[in-house]
Amino acid sequence: MKKKKILIVDDEEDLLDFIAMVLSDENYITYKAKNVNEALSILQNNKVDLILLDIMLPEIDGFSFNNMLRSDDELRNIPVAFITARLDSQDKIIGLKEGAVDYICKPFTSDELVNRVKQIFRKVEDG
């Protein structure tokens, strides 16, 4: 089976490294972006299967970036999962309304992360 490619967008380098490490250990190809610009340049050169997107990003936040993706003909089909640190379900609701497939709440363990990602791919393949 072809290896799935995942783009991780988070301005916190340590967390970014952690997520990338866990997911590469699970045999995913990972790309790391610290902001939206980096993410866009990665997307130009690579075809990814999933974007893990932090909501709180400098300059352009996750919601706005997601909206940019939704309005792009080529990129609109890439599933996006938000990484959120918010307490309430408000972000979840907004996120899902904005066309995100899922959300992952901070803090999370490696198991939770891997399970969530697997679930998302299952969901995307099913539907």
């Binding site: 952690f18 640190a85 307490l87 901070k106 999370f108």
Partner: protein, 491 residues
């Protein structure tokens, strides 16, 4: 009784107009009456002065000789002054020699002498001056002295006010008609005027209603260049200020929410990374670890977990205080949630050999599922923390009725240390910790019960604590509930 302002205004205007009219009328009436009377009196005097000489002459010359001539002359002259009631010629002794009322008789035949009975006439008959009496009837006495200087008789004129009175009464009648017309007219005008005034008031009222309904963008336009315009301008200024104020409040509110979100992000992101790495290390994904390393990592992990819990509580209580508690009320199976939580806590419960008892009479409640779980968790985590080894935790609920409202009351009972009665209310305050060894050793930042309080109060419920002989209760009640075991509640 509530009288609308516009009626008040129109009543004031109408009564004002009427008062002015009546006063003016009275002045006019009094002055014109005295003027007319004076005029009348002067005319009467003038008439008597002009005619008395002639009358005397004609009387002496013709009365007894050529009566028809006398009569004709008198008739002509009496008719000249319609208000002349009668003319009498009276001798100084009081005998009525001629009375103009008798003028229509053919011949002046006298069976017996007639004397005047007029007091004024009798009193003044003998005087040789002209006497006037200005009462209801004007009387003028002109004495006639012949060429030999003998006072032969006096001519007495009686002038009547009758006609004048009628005239004046006519004026009063016309004025009354005028009064009624003025009344009708002024009420119409005043209603119109007050409408004009109150139309501005109703514009203001409408705007005030809009504002109380939450619409602050309503502007009032009154261009009357008077106090109404000032009021409207002030009103607009007020709504503008309120609008700005609300905008500011909203902005501040947004900033607070943003602040919580930022703090949440800032605290959780490093926690996620640390926790993630520790967890990953413990899973030996990065490399084999020895027993000592494992123990150390477990301690780190446990502390990170505690930190996470505290951060969560802190953010939660800040959010509740800043934004209030938003509830998503639906039918909730509380029994299932309680069992689930006890299951999660079972390692700790078994570890301390605590017995638990669940006595649920109301299985389903109308409540916010997530938040009530949070309440149960906070209370039960505390209970497990403070219950001594081999102690008990009893959870009960039932339906009660208070002032016609039904509540579901929950009772969490354990045999932990008692709390000093003075501090029973304080345990629900944020950051309050019961000063006990157990409390300090077991950690936590004292937010659990204040979170419970916020949530229960958002349900319009109440939470309180109570000591009893063997232990400690936390009660809370929330409105409503679904009957599950009706017969139990009845008994």
């Amino acid at each position: 009784m509530r009288l609308p302002f516009r009626y008040k205004v129109s009543i004031v205007i109408t009564s004002g107009v009427i008062i002015i009219y009546v006063v003016l009328f009275i002045c006019f009436y009094l002055s014109s009456r005295s003027k007319l009377k004076n005029e009348f009196f002067n005319n009467a005097k003038l008439y008597s002065e002009v005619t008395y000489d002639k009358f005397s002459d004609i009387y002496t010359r013709y009365y007894r000789s050529v009566y028809f001539k006398f009569r004709e002359f008198m008739l002509t002259h009496i008719r000249l002054f319609p208000d002349l009631q009668k003319v009498q010629i009276v001798s100084p002794e009081g005998e009525v020699l001629f009375n103009s009322e008798d003028i229509f008789k053919e011949i002046p035949v006298r069976e017996k002498k007639v004397y005047t009975d007029d007091r004024f006439v009798i009193e003044n008959l003998k005087t040789l001056e002209v006497k006037t009496f200005n009462g209801d009837v004007i009387k003028i006495i002109h004495p006639y002295i012949d060429r030999f200087g003998v006072h032969r008789f006096s001519i007495i004129y009686y002038f009547s006010y009758e006609r004048l009175k009628k005239e004046i009464n006519g004026i009063i009648k016309i004025s009354f008609t005028g009064l009624i017309l003025i009344l009708i007219l002024s009420s119409f005008v005043s209603i119109f005027l007050s409408r004009l005034i109150t139309s501005h008031l109703s514009i203001l009222e409408e705007a005030a209603m809009e504002i109380s309904g939450g619409n602050f963008s309503k502007k009032i336009i009154i261009k009357t260049n008077d106090e109404f315009q000032d009021l409207a301008d002030t009103f607009n200024l007020m709504t503008e200020k309120i609008r700005e104020f609300i905008k500011e409040l909203k902005e501040r509110d947004r900033q607070k929410t943003q602040f919580i979100a930022n703090i949440s992000h800032e605290l959780r992101t490093p926690l996620t990374a640390s926790f993630g790495y520790v967890d990953y290390l413990l899973k030996e994904k990065i490399g084999i670890i020895n027993e000592k390393q494992r123990k150390s990592l477990e301690i780190i992990k446990r502390n990170l977990e505690r930190l996470n819990r505290d951060i969560h509580s802190l953010l939660q209580i800040s959010k509740y205080y800043l934004e209030g508690v938003e509830l998503d009320i639906k039918k909730t199976d509380v029994e299932k949630i309680l069992k689930d939580i006890l299951q999660n806590l079972s390692p700790h419960i078994e570890n301390k050999k605590i017995t638990t008892e669940l006595d649920i009479k109301v299985k389903e409640c109308f409540t916010d599922q997530e938040k009530i779980r949070n309440v149960f968790e906070n209370i039960l985590i505390n209970a497990v923390k403070f219950t001594p080894e081999q102690g008990f935790i009893k959870i009960r609920n039932s339906l009660i009725s208070e002032n016609g409202n039904s509540y579901v009351i929950f009772d969490f009972y354990n045999n932990s240390e008692k709390i000093p009665p003075k501090k029973l209310d304080l345990i629900f305050e944020p950051f309050y910790q019961v000063d006990s060894d157990a409390g300090k050793k077991l950690g936590g930042i004292g937010l659990g019960l204040s979170i419970c309080k916020s949530i229960i109060e958002a349900h319009n419920g109440k939470i309180w604590a109570k000591n009893d002989r063997i232990g400690f209760h936390i009660f809370f009640k929330i409105p409503g509930g679904v009957y599950e075991k009706e017969e139990d509640i009845d008994s």
